[in-house]
């Protein structure tokens, strides 16, 4: 490996536990092994660990819901330390929703408890013969059958039952609900009640393996390499993490973005027909109204200085959903709110509570519901199909639809229970022409809360995202929102490509460390981000080194996608953005331009050192990144979902 060998591994590695568990669910065997210091240095943790494991150990072309899929739990070197937002974990597998690299990141108390139990990574293979949950109780690892005790239960009840059973209210529990059990392609994993590993159907992968839950607790302390220096820096970071750099996440929370992105014509409404909404302009549906009228408490994940989790409460006097508590962020204000044309807050809360408890991703769920609302509006689905009306702006019927979608029941469940892409295909098979056009997804993953009509840079950033439509792989929406480049134009393709690459490499490091993207602004500079890693682990990295590894991690997961059959055509936003313009707002009359988009896409590939035609990393790039082991193995296995 080219540059990595120059960074010396200390004799005693701190931060990392270096413990990997291999769980063969088919025969119930659990084996423990040591992760080498070199592996830690080269792949950092979380995303990086899993990118390497999935490349090496997952047979190309396998059915993601078969026992052949490999399911990885991983965290980095930081959990339980007081680096802000250190208690994060990731889950990874071939995604049943996209057929490509699947990943989802969550936090709560799981990373910290798993680390104190002494775990760094768990790799699951096979399928259990009956429903089980896995326990990691310090050095005690075992699988416990749960068909009669937990199977069929919601995520919240599962967590309560397991905490009661262990008589430990701080037991960290990752659970799937009935949706994951029935292998809904948008099935999520819920932990600590309000935190989800939501995206790319990781709950369905657990369901396919008959794995209902994982629970962790531990009593091992974590030492750091340079305690005095670390403590000084950590105190500073905690202070900054509670300062202006994160105020938008703390005060109104991410829903503050509703107003600001609405002003730019970037906040999707009515299934991305428009990017502005009068309910936002008139103050009905904003971060301010949400906080003033509904939010009762802000809660933090373990070791987080920000506390972004805004808990809303529906009063006891509400006729439909009295005394309901729900965890709210901007994404679900979009998915079950503006995109469904719904400005009734309690309806939004009820829908998200159903998703979190019964176990689907609330972004994918809401975007799928918005697709259904638009199809209803166009007459492509009807009251006869559903059994009830579902126009934009529905309230109780939207809740009814959501519950059926999650549980796979009725027309809503049968057609929409696996997300937008499959819903489109199913409807077209029934002769509902062009239904797929209204599914707002990229690579099969439903879109987050940005409308791309007037966002030429983010159209590329979101298009190339490894896991499908996502704002958290590179955050390139900022390039459009801040006006770094002309958001309606297509100039400077290489400069834009470089800007997206720089963000994406940084985000890959963040997802490998794993820390929260809300703290990306608390570090003075790149060098400080590298320094904190050195103070914890003792590995003397530079920022140049660490971002070089970020580049390698992105490229390796891109190679995974290519091996599974992804092509340039998959790096493309939905047709709507190219064909239908907004009728109002700042992006009125604007559509994305296909030629311009393709030019920018090539610019991104060029910046990455990937072939500008195909997007396949060149051998030279692979060598530069220490990915020599990939060379000659990029022949597509054709496992991508059609």
């Amino acid at each position: 490996m080219s540059k990595t060998k120059e960074v010396v591994i200390p004799d005693e590695l701190t931060g990392y536990s270096q413990t990997r568990l291999d769980v063969d669910l088919t025969n119930g065997k659990i084996e423990k092994s040591e992760i080498s210091g070199e592996f830690c240095r080269d792949w950092i943790g979380g995303y990086g660990f899993a990118a390497k494991v999935l490349w090496d150990e997952l047979k190309p072309g396998v059915d993601p819901l078969s026992p052949d899929n490999v399911f990885v739990y991983a965290h980095g070197p930081f959990p339980t330390t007081i680096i802000p937002t250190s208690s994060k974990y990731g889950v990874f597998a071939k995604s049943p929703l996209t057929g490509l690299f699947g990943m989802s990141i969550s936090s709560g108390s799981v990373g910290a408890q798993a680390r104190r139990a002494g775990i760094n990574m768990i790799v699951f293979n096979g399928k259990a013969s009956e429903p089980v949950y896995m326990v990691v109780d310090d050095d005690d690892y075992y699988l416990e059958p749960c068909e009669k005790t937990l199977w069929g239960k919601g995520c919240w009840e599962t967590e309560e039952i397991l905490r009661d059973e262990f008589q430990d209210q701080r037991l960290a529990v990752m659970a799937i609900g009935p949706a994951g059990e029935r292998m809904s392609l948008i099935g999520c994993i819920t932990n600590d009640r309000n935190r989800q590993a939501g995206r790319t159907g990781m709950g369905a992968v657990m369901g396919s393996k008959n794995l209902k839950a994982l629970c962790f607790r531990g009593i091992k302390g974590i030492k750091v390499a340079k305690p005095v220096e670390f403590y000084k820096m950590a105190k500073k970071l905690i202070k900054v993490a509670n300062g202006p750099a994160t105020s938008k996440y703390r005060d109104l929370g991410t829903p503050s973005g509703i107003t600001s992105y609405n002003k730019l014509g970037m906040f999707p409404t009515y299934n991305h027909r428009e990017g502005t909404w009068e309910k936002i302009t008139d103050g009905t549906f904003t971060g301010d109204s949400l906080n003033e009228d509904w939010v009762v408490k802000k809660v933090a994940c373990s070791q987080c200085a920000i506390a972004c989790d805004h808990i809303a409460r529906v009063p006891k006097t509400h006729p439909e959903w009295p005394n309901l508590f729900a965890s709210i962020d901007v994404e679900i204000c979009y998915s079950f709110g503006s995109s469904c044309g719904n400005s009734d807050w309690p309806t939004v809360f009820k829908c998200v509570a159903l998703c979190d408890d019964l176990g689907i991703d609330a972004i994918s769920g809401g975007v799928t519901a918005a697709m259904a609302c638009e199809l209803y509006d166009l007459g492509l689905i009807t009251k006869d199909d559903l059994g009830y009306e579902l126009p934009f702006g529905s309230t109780t019927n939207l809740v009814r639809f959501t519950e059926e979608m999650i549980m796979g029941k009725g027309f809503a469940g049968e057609i929409f229970g696996d997300g937008t892409k499959v819903a489109g295909s199913r409807l077209e098979e029934m002769g509902r022409k062009n239904a797929s056009y209204y599914g707002m997804h990229i690579k099969g993953l439903e879109m987050p809360a940005f409308d791309l009509h007037g966002m030429s840079s983010f159209a590329v950033g979101e298009g190339v995202s490894i896991r499908g439509a996502c704002h958290l792989r590179n955050g390139a929406y900022g390039l459009d929102a801040k006006g770094t480049f002309d958001r309606f134009g297509y100039d400077k393709p290489l400069e834009r490509g470089n800007a997206i690459k720089k963000l994406e490499d940084t985000y890959a490091v963040i997802d490998s460390y794993i820390i929260c993207k809300f703290t990306r602004g608390i570090y003075e500079n790149d060098a400080e981000m590298a320094k904190v890693y050195e103070l914890v682990t003792g590995i003397p990295v530079t920022d140049e080194f660490i971002f070089h590894r970020g580049d390698a991690i992105v490229t390796l997961s891109k190679c995974f996608n290519i091996r599974e059959g992804a092509t340039r055509a998959d790096d493309h936003p939905p047709e709507r953005f190219f064909k239908e313009a907004h009728k109002k707002g700042p992006a009125k009359g604007v559509t994305l331009d296909e030629k311009g988009f393709q030019k920018l896409l090539s610019g991104y590939y060029e910046a990455r050192g990937w072939d500008t035609e195909t997007g396949i990393p060149t051998d030279e790039t692979l060598k530069n990144l220490g990915l020599d082991f990939v060379i000659g193995k990029l022949k597509p296995a054709g496992g991508k979902k059609k």
Partner: protein, 178 residues
């Protein structure tokens, strides 16, 4: 009771409205005392009751402390600040103090099995003292991101409560003054 024990003592008070349950206080407590992050070795304890109640508890410095009375080895006493001091030579880890505490804030240290209780960082490691401060101070208060933790005595708490009560009772008059 001796004269020194009649001083009004300060103890750790956590504001449940501000506390987000982030556990940073627990992690730093074990770190400055033991050099490792481990909430199970903390002298302050976060409690979360879903969905919204969060708080942390530490020694309340009870006037007639049940833990001291319960100890069969006479290993516990109070110092000048009213903090519970554990004589580790006498403490045999029997846990009677743990059972006697009304707040669950005295535990046994995981490694030593000696009674573990908040001493306002009197026993924190010297190397973690902030050079700009130059003395030991409760580190949970220093790191709490929400400034939810404070050192108060009962008289201060009473005074704050009285002021809040008066603000409620005379809200109209106060509004009129603005």
């Amino acid at each position: 009771m001796s004269a020194k024990k009649k001083r009004i003592h300060q103890f750790i008070v956590v504001d449940a409205d501000k506390c987000t349950g982030c556990e940073t206080c627990e992690s730093v407590c074990s770190f400055v005392h033991d050099g490792e992050f481990n909430p199970i070795k903390s002298r302050i304890h976060r409690v979360r009751i879903e969905p919204i109640l969060n708080i942390a508890l530490a020694c309340q410095k009870c006037e007639d402390a049940p833990c001291i009375r319960a100890c069969p080895e006479k290993a516990l006493d109070k110092n000048e600040d009213g903090s519970i001091i554990v004589d580790e030579d006498k403490c045999n880890g029997c846990g009677f103090c743990v059972r006697a505490c009304d707040f669950g804030v005295i535990t046994l240290h995981l490694d030593t099995q000696k009674a573990l209780v908040c001493d306002l960082c009197e026993s924190m490691r010297e190397e973690f003292i902030d050079p700009e401060v130059g003395k030991k101070e409760p580190q949970c208060i220093v790191v709490c991101p929400k400034e939810a933790i404070a050192l108060k005595n009962v008289e201060q708490i009473g005074e704050e409560t009285r002021i809040e009560a008066v603000k409620r009772l005379f809200a109209d008059q106060l509004a009129d003054l603005k």
